[in-house]
C-alpha cells in the first residue's frame, strides 16, 4: 500500500487519526531523540556550519546546471557499461523497470530502501506485472508485510511497536518469536538472506549520482543495498533526476552531512559506490546495471521560487525536530513525505486543494531551517506556498472574507480600537472570572481544549 491519501481528506482529519494513537506520540520522540542529540553534538564540533554552506553550494550548483550534469553522468555511466534510462513520470519509470525485469527473464526482485519508489508506487506496478518483490531494509520489510506505508524517511516504521513486529514476524514463522529485537532481526535476516541468494534483479535507489564517474552512491547501515547491487544478475538504480553531484570529491562534503543529519553518525556502516556491471576478472557484481533517472515533477520546479527544495538530500533531520511531525507522524501528511520536507514537497508534487493544504501543517517555528544540512529555507518556502494557495483562491470564502474585513478594520486606528473594545467586551459576556471556557463560532476551536484568558485576570 502506498501513494496518495490526500483525496477527500484534510490534514486536520488525518492528524486526528494519528493523535488517537497515544503510542505513536511517545514512540516518535523516543525513536528520533537519540539521533537529534548525536547530530547536534556532531554539528557542534569543527566547522560544520562551513560544511553546511559548502553542501548547499554544491547542491545548488548541481541543480542549477542539471542538464549539463545529466548529460555528463549519462556519458560516464554508459562508458562504464551502465545503461541509463529517462522517465518523465511514474508510469514511464515503472514501465521501464518492468521492461528490464522482463528482458532479464526475472521472477524474484529484491529491493533496498528508496523513497523515490514510494513516490512512483513501483511495488504495486511490478506485482501487477507478475513479479515478486521483496523489500530488504528491515523497516521496509516490515512495512511491506504489514501492507503499510513508511512514516519517516530514514526510520520507516517508527510508528510501529515492537509487539506489532513480533506479531507480523510470528505469523510468517508460524510460531511465536518473542519480542527480543535481536531475535526478531535475526529472523528477518534469515528470511532475507535466502531471498537475496535467489533474486534475479536488485533494485536500489540512489543517495547521489556522480556525474564525473557515472556512479550511483548508496548509504546504508544494514548492508542490504550492497547485497542488492552485487548478488543478483541485474542491478537497477532509480535516482531522482535532481540527485546529481558534479564530482566524486563532493561526496566528502555531502556524505558526512547526510550521515550526521540522518542518523547522527560520524560514519555510515556501508557506503556503496556502484560504477557499472561486473568487469572481466572481477569476482562479483551484476551482469547488467541500469540507472533510471526519474523526473516525476522535479524539472517543473526548476527555475521557480521553489528550486532550493531540489537541493534536499532526504536525511530526515527536519522531520526529527519538527514539533508537528513529532505529534502526528508521517502519515498525517497524506503522501510519501512527512514533516517540513513533506509540507513543501506535497503541495509541489500534488498541487490539488488537498495537497496545497499541507503547506499549513507547520507552526512556522523554523526548527527545520536550523538543522537542514543544505540550508533549505523551508520556513520561507512554506509561506510562499501559502501565498500561492491564496493566489489560486483555494482558501474558503470565510477565510478570504475574514482577512479582507480584518485588514480594512485594522488599517484604521479608530476601527482597530473599536473592534478591540467590542471584541473584548463580547468575550467578557462569555467569561467567568476572566476566563472563557466555552467560546462561540470560530472561538470554539480555541476553547475546545484550552481556556481563553482575558485581560486583567492574571494579576493576583
Amino acid at each position: 500500500m502506498s501513494g496518495d491519501h490526500l483525496t477527500g481528506t484534510t490534514f486536520e482529519g488525518r492528524a486526528a487519526e494519528q493523535l488517537a494513537k497515544p503510542f505513536q506520540r511517545k514512540a516518535i520522540p523516543a525513536a528520533v531523540d537519540g539521533t537529534v542529540a548525536h547530530s547536534r553534538a556532531l554539528f557542534a564540533t569543527g566547522d560544520r556550519e562551513r560544511l553546511r554552506e559548502l553542501g548547499r553550494d554544491i547542491r545548488a550548483h548541481a541543480v542549477a546546471n542539471l542538464p549539463e550534469y545529466v548529460a555528463a553522468f549519462t556519458d560516464a555511466a554508459e562508458a562504464n557499461g551502465t545503461r541509463v534510462h529517462f522517465a518523465g513520470d511514474a508510469t514511464e519509470a515503472n514501465a521501464i523497470v518492468a521492461g528490464i525485469c522482463r528482458d532479464a527473464g526475472a521472477q524474484l526482485i529484491v529491493k533496498s530502501k528508496s523513497m523515490l519508489t514510494e513516490e512512483i508506487e513501483l511495488n504495486p506496478a511490478l506485482e501487477a506485472a507478475g513479479f515478486e518483490v521483496v523489500e530488504t531494509d528491515l523497516g521496509e520489510y516490515v512495512v511491506q508485510i504489514a501492507n503499510d506505508r513508511p512514516s519517516h524517511i530514514i526510520g520507516p516504521i517508527i510508528h510501529k511497536t515492537r509487539g506489532e513486529v513480533r506479531e507480523l514476524f510470528s505469523a510468517i514463522a508460524g510460531r511465536d518469536l518473542g519480542d527480543d529485537p535481536r531475535a526478531l532481526t535475526a529472523f528477518a535476516r534469515e528470511q532475507l538472506r535466502d531471498v537475496f541468494l535467489r533474486a534475479d534483479v536488485g533494485i536500489t535507489g540512489g543517495n547521489f549520482a556522480v556525474a564525473e564517474s557515472g556512479s550511483v552512491v548508496l548509504v546504508t547501515n544494514e548492508g542490504n543495498a550492497r547485497l542488492a547491487t552485487s548478488l543478483p544478475r541485474v542491478h537497477i538504480a532509480l535516482v531522482g533526476v535532481e540527485r546529481l553531484l558534479p564530482r566524486t570529491a563532493d561526496l566528502s562534503v555531502l556524505i558526512p552531512l547526510l550521515v550526521a543529519s540522518g542518523t547522527g553518525q560520524q560514519l555510515t556502516t556501508y557506503l556503496s559506490i556502484a560504477s557499472g556491471p561486473r568487469r572481466e576478472g572481477e569476482p562479483d557484481g551484476p551482469d547488467e546495471m541500469h540507472v533510471v533517472l526519474v523526473d516525476g515533477g522535479r524539472s517543473a520546479i526548476l527555475g521557480t521560487g521553489y528550486q532550493d527544495i531540489l537541493n534536499c538530500i532526504r536525511c530526515g533531520a527536519c522531520q526529527n525536530v519538527c514539533p508537528v511531525y513529532r505529534q502526528v507522524g508521517g502519515h498525517a501528511y497524506g503522501w510519501v513525505y512527512g514533516g517540513p520536507i513533506g509540507a513543501v514537497l506535497t503541495p509541489l508534487f500534488k498541487p490539488s486543494a488537498e495537497g496545497l493544504e499541507v503547506a499549513h501543517a507547520s507552526s512556522l517555528c523554523a526548527a527545520c531551517d536550523d538543522v537542514c544540512p543544505v540550508k533549505i529555507p523551508l520556513h520561507d518556502l512554506l509561506v510562499d506556498l501559502r501565498r500561492d494557495r491564496v493566489g489560486r483562491r483555494i482558501p474558503g470564502r470565510f477565510e478570504r472574507l475574514a482577512y479582507g474585513a480584518w485588514s480594512r478594520a485594522w488599517s484604521s486606528p479608530l476601527l482597530y480600537r473599536l473592534s478591540g473594545r467590542v471584541g473584548i467586551a463580547s468575550l467578557r459576556l462569555l467569561a467567568r472570572g476572566g476566563v472563557v471556557r466555552r467560546g462561540l463560532g470560530p472561538l470554539r476551536r480555541w476553547t475546545r481544549d484550552r481556556d481563553l484568558l482575558l485581560p486583567g485576570r492574571r494579576r493576583r
Binding site: E12, A15, L19, H360, C365, R386, R387, R400, S407, P413
Partner: protein
C-alpha cells in the same frame, strides 16, 4: 498604559527616547504586559513613548499567505512608527521578527519600501534591548522556567538575553526546561486551524514544564503564553504564566 505619546525626538534630559510597540495581542489581550514592559524600560533609563496610530504588524495574514491584507494593516503601523524616534522596542519576538525581517519582503517594490527598511532597522526585541541596559537591583522569589518563543530565538537569535535578565534577579531560581526551544504549538492561526495538533504540542511542552517543577513559566511572547496559559488553566495546573516583562516589573524595587 504607562507610556505616553511624545512629539518627535523630544525626550527628558539624559534619558534615551524609545518607542514601545505593544503589538495587537499585547494591546488587546495583555495590556498589563505592555504597561510592565514600559515600566521596566523606564527603570532602565528610557523615555518611553507609544506610537500613535499603530495597530498590528500584519503577521497573521502574512503567515497565511494573504499579503495584500498583511500589507494594508502593516502599512498603518509602519507609517505610525516612521514618525517616531529611537529604537522600536517590541515585547514579542514573533512580531519583532515580522517587522525586522519580513517587512522588507512585504514592502519590496512598494511605495513605502524605504520607510519599511528604515523602521525595520530600528526594531529590537524587548529582552535583547533591556539586557543591554543598566537595571536597578531586582528581587523576586520563585522557581522559574523559560520558554523560548520560536521567532525570537530562531529568527532574531535572541537566546541569552532573557536568561541573563532572569539570572540577575535575586531570589529567582532559573530552571532549564527540557524542551525550552521547541515550539509550544501556538503558531498564530495554526492554533485555531489545527487545534488538536496545537494542543498536543502544548501538552508535550507542558509535560516538561511539570517535570521541571517550576512555579512560573516565563516567555517573551504573548501568543505562546495565551496558548500555554489557556491549556494550563483548562487542565487545572497550578503553574502560572508570565511575560518576562511582567516578571521583571514585579522584581523592580
Amino acid at each position: 498604559m504607562a507610556a505616553t505619546d511624545r512629539p518627535d525626538g523630544e525626550a527628558s534630559a539624559g534619558r534615551l527616547p524609545v518607542t514601545l510597540f505593544g503589538t495587537c495581542l499585547g494591546d488587546l489581550m495583555t495590556p498589563d504586559t505592555v504597561a510592565d514592559a514600559s515600566r521596566v524600560l523606564t527603570a532602565c533609563g528610557c523615555d518611553v513613548a507609544a506610537p500613535r496610530g499603530a495597530t498590528c504588524c500584519g503577521q497573521p495574514a502574512f503567515n497565511s499567505g494573504f499579503d495584500d491584507a498583511a500589507r494594508r494593516v502593516a502599512r498603518r503601523t509602519l507609517r505610525a512608527l516612521a514618525r517616531t524616534a529611537g529604537p522600536v522596542v517590541v515585547p514579542s519576538g514573533s512580531c519583532g521578527a515580522m517587522m525586522r525581517l519580513h517587512w522588507r519582503e512585504l514592502f519590496r517594490g512598494d511605495r513605502d519600501e524605504a520607510a519599511a527598511r528604515a523602521v525595520s532597522a530600528r526594531v529590537v526585541e524587548w529582552s535583547a534591548f533591556v539586557a543591554e541596559r543598566e537595571l536597578p537591583p531586582l528581587a523576586w522569589s520563585g522557581r522559574v522556567g523559560y520558554h523560548d518563543a520560536c521567532h525570537g530565538l530562531r529568527e532574531l537569535r535572541v537566546r541569552d538575553a532573557p536568561r541573563t535578565l532572569l539570572a540577575a534577579v535575586a531570589g529567582l531560581e532559573l530552571v532549564e526546561i527540557g524542551s525550552a526551544e521547541r515550539c509550544c504549538g501556538f503558531g498564530g492561526s495554526f492554533a485555531v486551524r489545527y487545534p488538536d495538533v496545537s494542543v498536543a504540542m502544548a501538552d508535550s511542552k507542558l509535560a516538561d514544564v511539570a517535570a521541571a517543577a517550576v512555579d512560573v513559566l516565563v516567555s517573551g511572547d504573548g501568543g505562546c503564553l495565551l496558548h500555554l496559559g489557556g491549556r494550563l488553566s483548562r487542565t487545572g495546573s497550578p503553574v502560572r504564566t508570565l511575560h518576562l516583562a511582567s516578571l521583571l516589573a514585579e522584581a523592580l524595587p
